[in-house]
Symmetry: none
Amino acid sequence: MGILERKEKQKLEIRKLILDASMKLFVEEGFSNVTIRRIADLIEYSPTTVYLYFKDKDEIFFSLHDIGFQKMEEMNRDLVTIENPLLRLHKMGENYIEFGLQNPEYYNLMFIQEEPMKKLSELGCDWVKGDSAISRLKATVTECMEKGYLKGDPHLVSLSVWSFVHGLVSLAIRERMEKFIPQKEMILPALKQSLNWMISNIEIDNRSK
Amino acid sequence: MGILERKEKQKLEIRKLILDASMKLFVEEGFSNVTIRRIADLIEYSPTTVYLYFKDKDEIFFSLHDIGFQKMEEMNRDLVTIENPLLRLHKMGENYIEFGLQNPEYYNLMFIQEEPMKKLSELGCDWVKGDSAISRLKATVTECMEKGYLKGDPHLVSLSVWSFVHGLVSLAIRERMEKFIPQKEMILPALKQSLNWMISNIEIDNRSK
Amino acid sequence: MGILERKEKQKLEIRKLILDASMKLFVEEGFSNVTIRRIADLIEYSPTTVYLYFKDKDEIFFSLHDIGFQKMEEMNRDLVTIENPLLRLHKMGENYIEFGLQNPEYYNLMFIQEEPMKKLSELGCDWVKGDSAISRLKATVTECMEKGYLKGDPHLVSLSVWSFVHGLVSLAIRERMEKFIPQKEMILPALKQSLNWMISNIEIDNRSK
Amino acid sequence: MGILERKEKQKLEIRKLILDASMKLFVEEGFSNVTIRRIADLIEYSPTTVYLYFKDKDEIFFSLHDIGFQKMEEMNRDLVTIENPLLRLHKMGENYIEFGLQNPEYYNLMFIQEEPMKKLSELGCDWVKGDSAISRLKATVTECMEKGYLKGDPHLVSLSVWSFVHGLVSLAIRERMEKFIPQKEMILPALKQSLNWMISNIEIDNRSK
DNA sequence: CATGAATGAGAATTCATTCAT
DNA sequence: TATGAATGAATTCTCATTCAT
């Protein structure tokens, strides 16, 4: 048992090695420059060995997609401490924006690239990672409504809120925002400001009611 | 003269042939499967001939990017007839959504793919097509504010509105909306509904109307 | 007749245009970067037109080979004024060296490249230009012997003298002399010095006779 | 250990296979007709395989250049047995001529083609092989002077002697000697005779004069 | 477990040349 | 005379992947 365990552990370590190397290449050289050979070179194993741990290149990228969600979840871990659900929603949005801007490659795999979703539908699988993130969003939105911070259909509002922040992040990381925000370092504050504006528009203004 | 004209016309026709073939391949087989060879096969010319009409592959894709903007502009041509700027903004958003859903590949080149923007920054050029679309959006938002339909910073609001609809479209065409909208045919109405919700949130309260 | 003449003249002019452009490309970009298309671009005619004046690329290069000999002949034109045949031989050698160093591309076509000679033997032609240059060398060497400046077989001596200067020039222009002559500007004087040494070795020392 | 050795050996064998095939093509079809594909066809491997053994085409040619020098060195191995340095110099010259005439393609890579030197200067490397051959020549010339067979500057004399034999060989293998030596089989003796003449001119003949 | 060897398929691009006009 | 249009035949090189060991 101990032996098996250790073997299992070692296997996971090499998998991690491969994934880290892939991500490194992905970040530094762009998606299309990640080749099995270069991954193998980086970890100082043979290309063939990579195939012992991953069926093919797609599987590597799908694993990175999963890791991306893990990272985002970690970022959101302390959200639970925020009692006010609207504040929590707000912070969730800010985290989302920050995550996307800081990890454009993960973000790409998680929410932009077509391949991961194609892979899933080939296998007849659900987008487990994405769906659970969506669920968390929905739960928070629902809570906001229950507590009177927001109104409307939680489904529609969740979809809209997500689309909004995704729009911000994806336009920014695909360089479509230069006219709006010419300075790179202003992107994060500008997107947060936009989020702010959005939330202030949808929240129920208690004073006037 | 007539001869020159005809020749010019023929030349344009072959260019169009190439662009159409590229788009067809792009739609049917995905960006990375569009090769000069396959384009040439499709139009029944030699690969070399393609190079008579386009400097390289990038130029083809950039032309498609431009054509995308033209198509979108055509779609928006009759917007001018809408007097009320908020209604016009609303319709503009609906058109944007429809265009994106109906032409995901053009949309991809226009607003998602990295390559076109990289090409531009290499050449030190501006994103003319995109910038002018943004300007039109801004103008409408500004008018909305002048006429009391919206308030706030036109810059911020325009950025936000665009991000919102881009988010809707890009999540939808990259298959991330299945949990929210499982039926394909419901996507368009759902996105429009979301847009509707958004606009009703930001528009200035009806008391003043 | 006047018309025919003018036409002939014009034809020659365009031929010259083509040859000049070819040489320019050859000098500036190297042999393998001279393409019909680039020649045509340079003279602002179509590639097809080039074929009206030259059968193929080889013919262009062969013409340049001929022009090279013309240029060298021009350089040697005032040799006739040198009465002393040994001095004349010496100056001939110096001119040869200078010509080669100053016109490495012509020199290449005249004495290094295989293609021109292959072309000739295909056509069953003689190397007229080269042969006549050789004849002039031989005549001078013979005169040197008749006048007591040199001794031995004029055939052998001519061959040897030519080989010697060709060796100097061709090693220099093909960058094999860097160990011997590291500074570019010292090449010409060094080769002349070598020629000097050579001639002083083969000339009959009158004092001792 | 035995296994590793054998593998290493096999690897070297395939390298040799590739080099031999390249040389064969080079000899039979000329420099510009040696392509990776044709090399691969010849050895009945795929083109890709060639790239497993050589980084690119240049590396193949540079290896051949080196092999050329090795072959020439082998030819000169027993020169050390010749005590008299002038005789040794003479034999060295004869070997050089023979090597060049018998291996015109190697000779081409070693002393005529521009590419190898360009590659070297790109890499900032020295022409190690050439320089050491030059050193051996210089040493012999110097010894001749020390022993009273030759006089003058060893540098100048070495340069001149080398240029002389290079001139002979390179004119011959590039077919410029046909006027002087019309019969192919007479080339070798004629060049040796020329070398003979040259050496008898420069040697200090004390007794017989 | 790990790999060296090998490959098939295919990429973008370039060139000399020809033909109908 | 001049050319625009077209092409066949290459070129180098890269990649994901497999198989025998």
